[in-house]
Symmetry: D4
Subunit: 225 residues, 8 copies
Amino acid sequence: MAGFRDLGFARVDTDRERRQGAPEAILAEGKAPEEIAAIARAMLDDGAASVLVTRADDDARAALRSVAPDALEDARARLAWVARDVPEACGLVTIVSGGTSDLPVVTEARVRAELLGTSVVVHQDAGVAGLHRLEPAIEDLERADCVVVVAGQDAALASVVGGLVAAPVIGVPTSIGYGAAFGGMTALLSMLCSCAAGVAVVNIDDGLGAGTIAARIARAAGGGA
Amino acid sequence: MAGFRDLGFARVDTDRERRQGAPEAILAEGKAPEEIAAIARAMLDDGAASVLVTRADDDARAALRSVAPDALEDARARLAWVARDVPEACGLVTIVSGGTSDLPVVTEARVRAELLGTSVVVHQDAGVAGLHRLEPAIEDLERADCVVVVAGQDAALASVVGGLVAAPVIGVPTSIGYGAAFGGMTALLSMLCSCAAGVAVVNIDDGLGAGTIAARIARAAGGGA
Amino acid sequence: MAGFRDLGFARVDTDRERRQGAPEAILAEGKAPEEIAAIARAMLDDGAASVLVTRADDDARAALRSVAPDALEDARARLAWVARDVPEACGLVTIVSGGTSDLPVVTEARVRAELLGTSVVVHQDAGVAGLHRLEPAIEDLERADCVVVVAGQDAALASVVGGLVAAPVIGVPTSIGYGAAFGGMTALLSMLCSCAAGVAVVNIDDGLGAGTIAARIARAAGGGA
Amino acid sequence: MAGFRDLGFARVDTDRERRQGAPEAILAEGKAPEEIAAIARAMLDDGAASVLVTRADDDARAALRSVAPDALEDARARLAWVARDVPEACGLVTIVSGGTSDLPVVTEARVRAELLGTSVVVHQDAGVAGLHRLEPAIEDLERADCVVVVAGQDAALASVVGGLVAAPVIGVPTSIGYGAAFGGMTALLSMLCSCAAGVAVVNIDDGLGAGTIAARIARAAGGGA
Amino acid sequence: MAGFRDLGFARVDTDRERRQGAPEAILAEGKAPEEIAAIARAMLDDGAASVLVTRADDDARAALRSVAPDALEDARARLAWVARDVPEACGLVTIVSGGTSDLPVVTEARVRAELLGTSVVVHQDAGVAGLHRLEPAIEDLERADCVVVVAGQDAALASVVGGLVAAPVIGVPTSIGYGAAFGGMTALLSMLCSCAAGVAVVNIDDGLGAGTIAARIARAAGGGA
Amino acid sequence: MAGFRDLGFARVDTDRERRQGAPEAILAEGKAPEEIAAIARAMLDDGAASVLVTRADDDARAALRSVAPDALEDARARLAWVARDVPEACGLVTIVSGGTSDLPVVTEARVRAELLGTSVVVHQDAGVAGLHRLEPAIEDLERADCVVVVAGQDAALASVVGGLVAAPVIGVPTSIGYGAAFGGMTALLSMLCSCAAGVAVVNIDDGLGAGTIAARIARAAGGGA
Amino acid sequence: MAGFRDLGFARVDTDRERRQGAPEAILAEGKAPEEIAAIARAMLDDGAASVLVTRADDDARAALRSVAPDALEDARARLAWVARDVPEACGLVTIVSGGTSDLPVVTEARVRAELLGTSVVVHQDAGVAGLHRLEPAIEDLERADCVVVVAGQDAALASVVGGLVAAPVIGVPTSIGYGAAFGGMTALLSMLCSCAAGVAVVNIDDGLGAGTIAARIARAAGGGA
Amino acid sequence: MAGFRDLGFARVDTDRERRQGAPEAILAEGKAPEEIAAIARAMLDDGAASVLVTRADDDARAALRSVAPDALEDARARLAWVARDVPEACGLVTIVSGGTSDLPVVTEARVRAELLGTSVVVHQDAGVAGLHRLEPAIEDLERADCVVVVAGQDAALASVVGGLVAAPVIGVPTSIGYGAAFGGMTALLSMLCSCAAGVAVVNIDDGLGAGTIAARIARAAGGGA
């Protein structure tokens, strides 16, 4: 039993969901639409609970629809996805973002976490330059099983939130900002050096990674893993 | 109610343990021994469950012993700590490391996680260049509530473990290696780009941060938070 | 005897094949189509065994066809080539890649190695996040005279393969990945720091370089140099 | 009239205080004690209001005392200074720091600003991970003519303060922190990308520069320039 | 009293002008035109003295005009703004630039400072390679309450001006230049290392930040804060 | 006497040619065509010996022609220039380049040096990978008053030439190459670390700078300055 | 069958020699002398053909002697080794270095290659700034089965040699040089961008890695693998 | 005729002085005292006009004295040298430095240029923050055949001087400065981006390289080459 499907150009890891509780996601960049369609079909044929295509332009999203008419999509977040057999939601993930422009990354994290079976609440534009805007989020931060902070520029929100909550905090640096923001490098370094112990970080703009680990943490805390 | 003790040179956040379940740790670098002793005394007077001094040279460790005769220490890991009222262990953290030289960072993560109230098992020197050496760790990886991977150089172990387990994985890049290892920068970047979704990363050699978030994740999963 | 052809804008090293067993390749970037055609014609007139144009857009590939109607091409890999007097294949090069998106680099390495007179087998999408997908490649890895690992992101595949095989391993970091992948820099550094001794690395996306050295190694091992 | 004293090895800009209101400071690093003494003597002979030696080890501080018995010093901040004709204090500079280890930089900024004729108040260890510790500083922040934020690691304090106050904010990144703090580079980039408009930044650990510009700002606002 | 308006996708900090004397600016990048219009409308409804949209392409500028027919704009500087209740000008800001290509950044700084209630004079193209071109600016530099230096490449103008004037100097590195200018990084580092004490620096091309802090400094010095 | 022409948006340094023997060059990037035309006209009205516009697209080159019908141009090198009163040639500059793709930079250096009054000979595509191709250049290298080496990638040609000739050597790193060439950074660093003492380097792709200093050196050596 | 020896602090990969033809090497940095001795003893007990300790200070070398009285050592290269059952030499490795200071790295590569069963000849100080010094090496370069180039600074020797020989070339950048040599980074980048196709590179100062892959290549070419 | 002396560990390029007019210099770092002595003896035996040892600690300088009792030295500049048959001085090199701490690099450049047969005048501490200090140097700058600018931090002096003089300008960035000076990197980048065309740059702290090329330029201009 190989545990994968060999499509020639790709070896689809159909065993991953069984092994790790989360199906492989399809990164659209660098793949032809036919390849995306073929991978999605292989996953669905093998009974994947969900399929998620990231960094997906119009053609990539159409490719998913061509094999799954029930596919949903979000153009701004460059996402397309199919929800077939999503586990019942268990555990709460609270996502806070620093600014309006972080929305696509927030969406990627939210959709992934929901597809893996958690509840998600979102508070946007709660940047540190006006701390009072964080107040409406406090209650949702305190009852969260996992908190995701999405922020660019100096990413100071990660430390502020990281100093407030008892739940694990996952930081997602975003490529927002110009000049010395260096495409998210500054936000990344800043989060890694957070003065609040207990913050862990994923790659720049990596909503997928944040959604994946947050769902794992929240479901286990909620008794669902 | 201020929620902190003002020592003049420092404002000790004595409220943090109540707020976040984990007391402040004392980074010894840049502090005089008297300062370390004073901060530790303030924390113990306020009923801290534990006190942990990191990056502690001989003088720094002696400073802790001077205010807490029951202090323990580990010279190679540059650690000193006092365990006064540690919560009953709940949840399991499994730590795997890539090489023998990662030991000090492993120790820092292990001690912190234990002081916060988790069980910890350690598998050292399971580097990817001889994958069969990872086999004895498989069972402990599968039953873990949180996995911590400590590795330097190319840190490939993070992706290998990240592709095997269902638990959340926290990566700790270490400054081990020479030349293009660039003091841990390569291991850090490598872990951030892990091809296994669901790996989150802390700062280079940051055993403290890894132990903190791992304990939060494991305790909640174990029903203990 | 000059050992080169002076075209004014270029001095074509027609002696290189005699001297080193491999003709010069033509990097299309920064050259006008007429220049590419003139260089290719000079090489063919001097009896080059093969001509290979890399980073070739539509015009560059057409330029080669204009002087060699028997030219072949691969648009996705941006390659065009002519095989006139290729040495009989001798020695085996096995190429493994981490993901579907590495295909263009795999193709560049494969074509170059074949033009220099080796047999090549390819295993794609054998990334470390699902190690079982590497199993079908094991036999070809063990019988190879030289192994080429093509991988982006954290390039962990290089260490895994480098710890398994007895043949020399050449790593090719690719520019695949986003955020902290930094256009292949992370994969490059990671491969250089591989914990498996005996891995050597070429430039980012440099299929040409990998194919060249792999063919030299494999042909000599196969008794053909 | 040259406007400087030529000592052969140095041309002391004795005109600077008249021109810019602040005498030249003496960076001790790279200078022999005799050179430091000679420069200080030339400044005092020309009627400098004050002399400040920075990055001064024991020998450098002794060199200043040898020409000015009224010299003061601070070993931890590596400073020595003479106050001869300091202008009456005018305007208020409030300095806040993120942690205990930032003390030497705080001291350098405070001494310089005082020597140039301002009042200075200091609030130390008000890091973002425990925001309530900033509360005692609020009143001094609101009445300040210029605010200086001294912080290392992620330097998130700059944005928090920068979003609260109406006065100009000068950030001083410090080299505190390990791993991805990269000797203050992360704090520097973070402050430059502060989401609070109106924060300007000086070099890493540059208390001197911060004290200089802060004094100019505060004195003018206080009606004293 | 929340102190902000919650538009769902954004929480507009309508309290900022009262708190800090300067309304929030709208960074157009990453925002849809409807979002820009909605934020501008919320600010104007709340009585903002001015609205400024930066990095604004044609659509973004049209969005502002759609809610404020009295909006002005500058296409080359990618700016649009509305002046409703600008404070009477108080204090003088003098801006000098190194070259003709720095104009857009100069404009952004000038407009922002004027909207916050200062007088501004501009001297362009006074680069160090022909120092005599700086002479016509001397008088305006000497009477300024705050000086802004806008320069790319080696940004040497910051040190030259910083060594001449008694007022605080704010440097704005620009992304002008090629090769080793590295998109403004060199100018940024150069300004941070200025041999003239008392220069503080904002982000690359950050005319907004420079205009904000310069206006604060100048108004206070002019008796107007 | 100002020594410059103030056009409002620019202060043209018309004194520079008298002062330094070389008129200002006009960098087209970031300037409007009208601005280029106005600057060129001011220079010609003041009797400039030549005008050179670099990084000039079609519009920029047309702008020069509109004020100087005798303008010449080279589209591939993005240059336009007018030669009005060029000094009689004196001294010899020999330019060697590593590859065909370095041609635009070679042209920029050659035109500038000729406009300043030197003879120039060029040897292209003499890269180190086939050292015999350098032989035809030896005689021109030995009789040169100044040598300019234009090379990308590893720029090894600078050391080879730098170890052969007695004349001063100016290196120009080019942005040719992919992957770890990092837009010319590698060639720049390599030339700076040349094991041949006596090589000095200008900015990446900076043919203008190389042509300027080479002409000064060669004219003086030829007795012409 | 585990295939390794578990010493608690280390899992010695005693299967590696069987699997890959080369025993594990012991990196002394970060290991206590007792640990080095224990690992060496385990390897010898399992019948390792050789044991090599790298980056070994006095204590580390003494540790090896304590378990193997027949150990040899080289203090300058910080090496100690035991040769027990070295395979008969097969194939030729030719090492050339750029300068006298590269000797320790040359030695590390030579000893490793000899312990794995090859003949090695060395030509030192053949730097490019005096190319005639390479002539005595030509014959050994032409008859080599694998060439290793050890060079720091601009590492131009790699391209010169890479353009001459038909054998595979392995480059070892060294940390020799100051200033912009950046601890070997410049040499590393330069070798990766070599204009000679067919050069592959190992980590900075990594004589061990170069010796390992060179021996594999040479033995196979010599008919010995 | 080999043109070099083979000492086993080194191949001394005794032909270099004949070929290039300047003998090889001996970089002491990484060489044993005996090696330095042997190389110096070989050079002197072959009739070198001078021998110069750079980066020379006490032992290295003693090594030169042991073979040449007439050796001179400068401990602060870490130099030792022997002048045997120095050509009559021809041409003038003017060196200006930005600060007192640049002295060792100034000395290295001065000694080298004098040994190669030029006159040298030095103006120290003429930094841009007090431009009037440059005035005493103007005359020597105008009559120079080559100007060398030695400066750290922002190295703005290179552009100021580069905009004043008609002679070729060679910049030497120094590692002086802290924080964002990054060991001379900022000064290096700044000089490369100088807004004054005609400045060429050598490696950080590379007085030797600057002295070499400056002497070549000045001697030729003075009619002496």
